[in-house]
Symmetry: C2
């Protein structure tokens, strides 16, 4: 299996233009025209041993995560969820209660943010547990925020604090839909993404799509209290905040002062992403996250 990001690059080269598709693959959600307001659609899967561990995590927590990751994609574009469809590939030896609790975890998480599960497909197989959720979103009066709108001079912000999500938060987080809607109603938000792969990697998505660079101020990056409780590693607390991933907070750019979020840097021309620390700058290399269950 090739690197996921290379594969998506290749997929994008294979897509045909369509009048009906405003924004095809490559952002958090696709935008379709031909509906009142914009209709948005995306899909996200979680896999046993990659995004959760079926031997450790409860079925309800697994289901909740499957739904919340998609709701976090809605937050990333400042849209409201409309409906979801789900597919479950279930090991044959899992009991019925497991499937029900998993579904309840999905349903409850969806209902909290107004997202009904409107369809699905369940199959038993000799493989491991895999869950896909496809989500529809509606813009509801707000222009969806893409990754591609950042300009040199914009400020870079994050909501919340980052790092150490592996302790527990990666399984139990609140998709930032309310925060995203509040942000776009009060400020000019030029680009936004949810932090699933890690700040270093997700910021690189914004910069690449926008054709810009960035300078991140190391002292400004909010490190989550969980980082101090991690087992000893060869990463510094800052490195955990920059690279751990699965924070499911928002990273966005704006020319405005945004008091409700933490300013961590600024967008610059060019394409380099630099980390400013101790009075000097060094390249901020995306490391992404790797779970170790």
């Amino acid at each position: 299996m090739p690197n996921e990001f290379d594969f998506i690059d290749w997929v994008r080269t294979r897509q045909s233009p369509s009048d009906r598709v405003i924004l095809p693959a490559g952002d958090d959600l696709a935008i379709l025209s031909g509906v009142p307001d914009a209709l948005l659609v995306g899909i996200d899967q979680i896999l046993d041993g990659v995004h959760f561990d079926s031997a450790t995590h409860s079925p309800a927590a697994i289901g909740r995560k499957a739904m919340n990751r998609n709701l976090s994609d809605c937050a990333a574009m400042a849209c409201l969820p409309l409906a979801a469809v789900v597919s479950l590939a279930m090991p044959r030896d899992l009991p019925a209660t497991f499937a029900k609790e998993l579904y309840e975890g999905m349903r409850t998480a969806g209902e909290k943010l107004g997202c009904a599960i409107v369809g699905g497909d369940t199959g038993a197989w000799a493989g491991k547990l895999a869950i896909s959720v496809a989500i529809l979103g509606r813009s509801d009066g707000v222009t969806p925020v893409r990754r591609s709108g950042a300009h040199a001079g914009d400020l870079v912000y994050v909501t919340g604090a980052l790092g150490g999500s592996i302790l527990a938060r990666h399984m139990d987080f609140t998709p930032r839909i309310d925060e995203a809607r509040a942000l776009v109603s009060a400020h000019r938000i030029t680009a936004m993404i949810d932090l699933s792969d890690g700040l270093s990697r997700d910021l690189a998505h914004i910069c690449r799509e926008s054709g810009v660079g960035a300078v991140i101020d190391a002292d400004s990056v909010p490190v989550h209290a969980d980082v101090a409780r991690l087992p000893a590693s060869n990463r510094t607390p800052l490195e955990h905040a920059l690279h751990d991933g699965e924070d499911y907070e928002l990273c966005f750019t704006s020319p405005d002062e945004v008091p409700s979020a933490t300013r961590i840097g600024r967008i610059v021309s060019g394409h380099e992403i630099m980390l400013a620390q101790h009075g000097r700058k060094s390249p901020l290399v995306p490391l992404g996250f790797e779970h170790a269950f």
Copy 2:
């Protein structure tokens, strides 16, 4: 893992009513309101060892099947495909060429019927190959045909011939979208489904959703030529046509004479589905399909 159909029953009892959802889980696709014309959405997965065999089937054929099963769901409701999103769970040892060929199989199948892939999620894992496709459909001037509209006195029809799809057709079929659109434009189609689980089981879905029974005339069921080429089994040719599954033809009901399809029986009041053969009737028990790769 419990029986899939029991699980869906249970899921349906857990759903909350919503103004935005005209038709929730339980049909081929969900129907959403709040869009011009109806927007339809559904999801369908294919799993290694269940719906295909990655050691035997080409990646392009696997991708084609993943897309075509969803397009067949569009046909079942007489809607036109709008767009699809896909998730791929890929074994880590699969080469990049496999993923690309699989995507090309999906993309080509979609484009043949006007369906663009507008998003996706790809992940590598220690598990087996699983592919989910979520599809959006648009009614485009036609009221979507549900499973629930059959009335006593309607005639039961199928397109094409049935049975023996395991030889090759289950991997390479044409979703009957054109046929479905032609049918609804020329006739009163009261209920429709695509034949994925086998005529006996899929007709039972129509009857249950419509609150009716049916009598199928054994001599009228069109047996596919593939059945004669199957290895010897304990099933008769008729039983193959009734139960094999994965024909991806349409089964529908109508009060009209429909010359372009094969009339195989009629809808009756009650809830029993009977097979009329040799001058007597016996219950037509759904057997569904089981692959043996």
